[in-house]
Amino acid sequence: MKIETAPNGRLTLRLTGEIDHHSAAAMRKTADAALIRFRPRELVLDFSDVSFMDSSGVGFVMGRSKRAAAFDCKTAVCGLKERDRRIMKLSGLESLVAFYTDERKETT
């Protein structure tokens, strides 16, 4: 995972590799540590470099967006592949999290 911060209070987490129940545990730790450390105003989860995900990816987004919301930080997801987007849609997450089609949407 690559962590990028911007002066406007945005924290971008660029997820890499495969997201399943096994790999999600470590990703969760890294992401939550970054959330606590940077306390961003906006969290962007970038899936551009994710080569595979199952519903564990949905759980990951749900969990992080909840934690972020606890200190009024909005969550956005971008860079999803077609199948991953279909999985996300099954969850009804759209009401909680902003989804962007392009890779790195400017979300001011």
Binding site: E18, A24, D54
Partner: protein, 145 residues
């Protein structure tokens, strides 16, 4: 239905095997010349089924997961994922989208994803006697999902 090819695999329910199991099924399925799309769909469905065995069937214990896949004439692939864990008391409830007993990091979408990404999903289970999930996918068909 004539069986053209088959494979069997037994693995312990360790989470590191989730990736191995879906890749093994994908490698077997690749022999039948599926589209990238079909292969990806099946991989995702297998990942969900195996994860269920690890997260639910065996919870904090470790048990055996048996996976067998078979290719039939006409491009029909069947993958059976079997565990000998706790079993499911209410299958209908377990299959309900967003329902989970595993806490807030699990989305409760496992069965929903399996249903969406295959052509047929069969679940057989009894408390204390384990669960068998059978995924069927039609390859190279225009009417396939």
């Amino acid at each position: 239905m004539k069986k053209l090819n088959e494979m069997k695999l037994t693995i312990p329910s360790r989470s590191v095997n989730e990736g191995f199991a879906r890749s093994a099924v994908a490698a077997f399925t690749a022999l039948a010349d599926p589209t990238v799309e079909e292969l990806g769909d099946l991989k995702t469905a297998v990942s969900e089924a195996v994860t269920n065995c690890i997260v639910h069937a065996y919870r904090d214990t470790c048990g055996r997961i048996k996976i067998d896949a078979a290719l039939y004439e006409g491009g029909i692939i069947k993958v059976r994922i079997k565990d000998f864990g706790c079993g499911i008391a209410d299958i209908e409830k377990a299959m309900t989208a967003l329902y989970t007993t595993a806490g807030e990091e699990r989305s409760g979408l496992g069965f929903t994803v399996m249903e969406s990404f295959t052509d047929k999903l069969q679940v057989r289970s009894a408390p204390g006697r384990g669960t068998t999930v059978t995924l069927t996918k039609y390859l190279n068909r225009k009417d396939a999902k």
